[in-house]
Amino acid sequence: MNEPVSNLKSAFESGRFVFTGEIGPPKGTNVQSCLHEAEEYLKDSVTAVNVTDGQTAVMRIGSIAVSNMLLERGIEPVFQMTCRDRNRIALQMDLLSAYSLGIRNVLSLTGDHVAMGDHPEAKPVFDLDSVGLLQAMVKLEAGTDMGRDMKGNPNKLEGAPKFFKGCCVTPCAEEVELQIIKLEKKVEAGAQFVQTQAVYEPAVFEKFMQRIEHLKAPVMVGIVMLKSVGMAKYMNRSVPGVHVPDELITRLSDTAKEDLQRVSIEICGELIRKMKHCCQGAHLMTLGWGHCVPDIIAAALA
């Protein structure tokens, strides 16, 4: 009975600085390369691996299936779950399905709008928001669901799941108070850990962390590899709440192409070193450069 819910939860409880990674399932059934990335480079480096759920509203193989494939390979998944494509019935069904397969870590996300993706004609669902999805998980854990029986009582489940529930926040967003209010609600609704959007401004992040000190959930700072100058500029232009400082852009543009990966790893390592005193872990988003994860971690701990 006292078995820990997940290794990720235990890792936070142990007080050590936690690393997680991320893979994006492919469009189609050829999962070999994303599984290879996870097995070869992430398995022995990170505590858990996020599996994205139709990232940027692009149709792909599902997060539950790929999370399950990770489990089969001895890798602990963080099942990312968005509210974009499923109503509360389907969300609760998938939560039970995920649990039955052995998935324990679930990250509650709103999800990008369908207009952002490759099926802009699809009906956007958003029946629940990310707070409501966390509430749904808590209800399932209590052995009931969101519905009511004929007498108006909560429906009872035959067997209840137990999750380690996460949520997301953007620390460098323009209206940070609004982000914090929503984060407080997510934690109140049941979130037990927090992953952030990409951060390139350690000072802004530190201030943000001071403002959420009262929240007792561990926070993993989001680290996205800058693979090129173009990507850094693109992020400044198009990714909300992310600002890559000029100093990093200059550094990347002064780097020869063959050295880009090494410099990108160095930048990630430096960012984590600057921020690890005020957070509990780092979530590494390597965007296909999973082979860099061991070096990023080594640089972060140097």
Binding site: D129, Q135, E175, E177, L178, Q179, K182, A189, G241
Partner: protein
């Protein structure tokens, strides 16, 4: 008001292809106010159709008319000619008017000249914006008078997603983030704390979750039956 915009001309022409005698019928309600389906627009569309008919040898006879509202039985008295005189009526009302009229005149095809788009207001010259979703469970008292169901692209009830940039929605930079508007309004009023309470998931039953919606005023039903 209900906002509607005219369908592309070619689509209208295609709809009319089986018919010869056509009545273009404007509506004096919402679509007159949003300058898309009133008397003037009916007159314009009728003359456009006559021109096209001549140009493409379609042999159309086109008249136009406009009544106060197409969603109300009493105003049909004001029709200059009975719809039965025509092969079809091209209605410039919203979807309600088109359906209601075709129910009153089941022998005449009523075709939609408009796409009915949203409930909105005229917020700047030439601009109409969606303000209400008609969800059936108004939360405006809690959100500074700005609707998160209609004015957040994701209808989120507990605050914004992470997608807004410079106060604009991730769907389009021409679109305000509804939650930024709510936050701004509540900040001005010193009432940001009102956002701190968790809002339960939306009860979509009052939206479309319980099927087709009706409004019944019991008193009037009784009065009618007594008469």
């Amino acid at each position: 008001m209900i906002v509607a915009e005219r369908k592309p001309f070619d689509e209208i022409l295609e709809m009319l292809s089986p018919y010869k005698r056509v009545l273009v019928l404007g509506c004096g309600g919402c679509v007159t106010v949003c300058l898309t389906g009133g008397e003037r627009q009916a007159e314009e569309l009728a003359s456009q159709l006559r021109l096209a008919s001549r140009h493409k040898s379609m042999d159309l006879t086109v008249d136009y008319d406009c009544i106060t509202r197409q969603c109300d039985r009493e105003f049909t008295e004001n029709l200059k000619e009975s719809p039965a005189q025509y092969d079809c009526v091209l209605s410039m009302a919203c979807g309600v008017g088109v359906q209601f009229m075709s129910q009153l005149y089941p022998d005449v095809p009523f075709l939609p000249a408009m796409n009915t788009t949203f409930y909105g207001a005229n917020t700047a010259p030439g601009l109409w914006e969606e303000y209400c979703h008609g969800c059936g469970d108004c939360v405006l008292a809690l959100t500074g008078g700005i609707c998160p169901i209609a004015r957040c692209s994701k209808s989120l009830v507990n605050g914004p997603c992470g997608g807004a940039q410079d106060g604009k929605c991730e769907v389009s930079n021409q679109m305000d983030c509804g939650w930024h508007l709510i936050y701004k309004r509540l900040t001005e009023k010193g009432k940001v704390d009102e956002l701190r309470k968790i809002r339960p998931p939306i009860n979509w039953k009052t939206d479309r979750g319980a099927g087709v919606r009706r409004l019944i005023l019991e008193e009037m039903v009784e009065e009618e039956s007594e008469v």
